[in-house]
């Protein structure tokens, strides 16, 4: 969905995974920015209707960029700087009964 501009000042690349898929992004990017430049369309599903959502405001206001980072849910991706080796996952909506049974 996003791409780097032509003359971007280079900095190191960090490796991370999104739902298990290896990806890289620029050191200094937030988690939300890293997902956007990797072409990730949606980062969470809503608790009410399980519809996909993506970062909306990028300034900590909307909470639509919520993701699971290293096992901790409800993190605001736009406020967390990306770190080497981070395991980022889609934040699925609320827990369903069948999830708990399995």
């Amino acid at each position: 969905m996003f791409r780097p501009i032509a003359d971007r000042i280079a900095s190191g690349e960090l490796r991370f995974t999104f739902d298990g898929t290896p990806m890289t992004a620029r050191a200094g990017d937030t988690v939300a920015a890293a997902l956007l430049v990797n072409g990730i369309v949606a980062c969470r599903e809503t608790p009410v209707s399980d519809t996909p959502r993506a970062p909306y405001c990028l300034m900590g206001v909307c909470f639509d960029c919520l993701v699971v980072i290293d096992g901790i849910g409800n993190r605001q991706g736009c406020l967390v700087p990306l770190a080497e080796g981070m395991q980022i996952e889609t934040q699925h909506g609320r827990r369903h009964l069948e999830d708990i049974r399995s």
Partner: protein, 484 residues
């Protein structure tokens, strides 16, 4: 300036805690430190600058022309702050502010950094929590691919990234033209700019034109608008917008003077002006009034930007939209009065030192009224006419549900509305639905936003984990509160 990355190294208490490192916060913290106060500046972001000067010291954007000279001016504010003796806690979320019951007249703030929380004391507080974009509820605004104009600007400033495909920018306000110019300069493929400025606003704004003609906005604004109009497909007088797509944005439909159009696009950037971000000041108990010209709830402040709660000042756009340059000046003025209240300078000296800053501030605010009146959103973008439009993005409550509850159940205000529909009770705590819920209730009941009132907000104003709360040091009072 001393940066802090471990919350454990913060002092127990500070003379002044400033929340937010935008222009107002940076100036307030620098000035207060220069007056000899022990100052902590806490900010959520990894680098100083707030949103307007976002990443000004760390941006990967090499070509300075892309962001424009106004942006780079933020570096001077940061440099002055860096020379000061203030303590700076980046990536630090402030989630509560309340009176310290053990030391009347002082405050306690709840802070989190890197998964650890602390309660820090403050003799005085300046909230410099700035502005947020006004909610712009249209059908389909929750689809991935729809973002705010501010979000695209933040991605450009902080990550050097722009929307990858066909992009449509829609709405009104100075930021819309600025962003269009910046994105175009950065190589973004802008399919169209859909301008929703109501033509009737021009006649209302004309009365304020003399002020605007003497303002620094004039040349800047005209240049931005002309550049956007010259280079881009520009559609003015847009009265309706709908985003459509399956699982993600595919196109935007618009109406303009009775005709309709559809533009296929990958990204839609929405903007309907900015308004004070009131969650923090509201939860801290500061009084707010509805400002008719800015069409927003604004904290009540005195000439030194002190709120209705003595000891809490609100500087910058958080106390009414005035723009970045005015925010820096307001931060400075607020800091002088903190200095007086804490005995660093007397009233006469405070007035003498603040006088030239007030003159500057007056100049910066010339023309603001013209912009407020010209870019006041059209009624259909404040209270969405289509019932299916989602208003509360978190709890997925629609305009139709809110109108229905206001009409049939006689719901009189946004707090009562929560009990019926849960609007405003999701993770964003009403930040993106509050203004629209108020508008819809007022419209349905034939009252005004001022009479309808706003959400009563409560700390924590930002999420804090149970582990962080549980690890806070226990006090005698906190133990007594739960042990019987």
């Amino acid at each position: 300036m001393t940066p802090v990355s471990d919350i454990g190294t913060l002092a127990e208490t500070y003379d002044l805690v400033v929340v937010g490192a935008g222009p107002a916060g940076l100036s307030a913290a620098a000035r207060a430190a220069e007056l000899g106060l022990a100052v902590l500046l806490a900010d959520e972001n990894p680098a100083p600058g707030g949103q307007i000067y976002r990443s000004v010291t760390t941006t990967p954007v090499k070509n300075r022309a892309i962001l424009g000279e106004d942006y780079w001016r933020g570096a001077d504010l940061v440099a002055r702050f860096e020379r000061s003796l203030a303590t700076y806690a980046p990536r630090c979320t402030v989630w509560s502010l309340s009176p310290d019951e053990t030391a009347p007249g002082t405050f306690e703030l709840g802070l989190s950094l890197d998964g650890k929380a602390r309660i820090i004391g403050a003799r005085q507080v300046i909230l410099a929590t700035g502005a947020q974009e006004r909610p712009f509820p249209i059908p389909g605004w929750t689809l991935p691919g729809v973002m705010t104009a501010g979000a695209a600007q933040i991605a450009l400033k902080s990550a050097g990234a722009i929307p990858a495909g066909r992009t449509v920018i829609a709405g009104c306000g100075p930021l819309l033209y600025l962003l269009a110019g910046q994105l175009a300069a950065a190589g973004c493929q802008i399919a169209a700019v859909l301008d929703t400025t109501p033509s009737a606003n021009w006649s209302k704004a004309l009365g304020a034109l003399p002020g605007f003609l003497r303002s620094p906005y004039l040349a800047k604004g005209l240049k931005l608008m002309m550049a956007a109009r010259r280079k881009l497909r520009f559609v003015s007088g847009v009265t309706s917008l709908t985003a459509t797509g399956e699982g993600k944005l595919a196109s935007v439909q618009f109406e303009q003077g009775g005709r309709t159009g559809t533009i296929a696009c990958d990204t839609l950037l929405l903007h309907q002006g900015v308004m004070p971000s009131v969650n923090f000041s509201n939860a801290a108990g500061c009084a707010h009034d509805f400002d008719v010209e800015q069409h927003a709830f604004v904290p009540r402040v005195d000439a030194w930007f002190v709120s209705s709660v003595p000891g809490i000042a609100i500087a910058g756009d958080g106390a009414g939209i005035g723009g970045a340059e005015s925010a820096a000046l307001r931060g400075e003025i607020a800091a002088f009065d903190v200095g007086r209240r804490l005995g660093k300078l007397d009233e006469a000296e405070r007035d003498r030192q603040a006088a030239p800053i007030r003159v500057e501030l007056e100049k910066r605010l010339h023309g603001r009224r013209f912009l407020d009146l010209l870019y006041k959103p059209a009624p259909q973008f404040l209270s969405p006419p289509k019932d299916e439009t989602i208003v509360c993005r978190c709890e997925e409550v629609t305009a139709g549900q809110i109108r229905d509850a206001a009409r049939r159940l006689g719901v009189t205000g946004p707090n009562q509305m929560k009990a019926f529909l849960r609007c405003g009770m999701g993770p964003c705590q009403g930040r993106l639905c509050g203004p629209t819920v108020v508008e819809l209730i007022a419209e349905t009941r034939g009252t005004t936003p001022a009479e309808t009132g706003y959400y009563r907000l409560r700390p924590p104003v930002k999420p804090v984990t149970l582990a962080e709360l549980a690890a806070l040091p226990q006090t005698e009072a906190s133990v007594k509160a739960v042990v019987r």
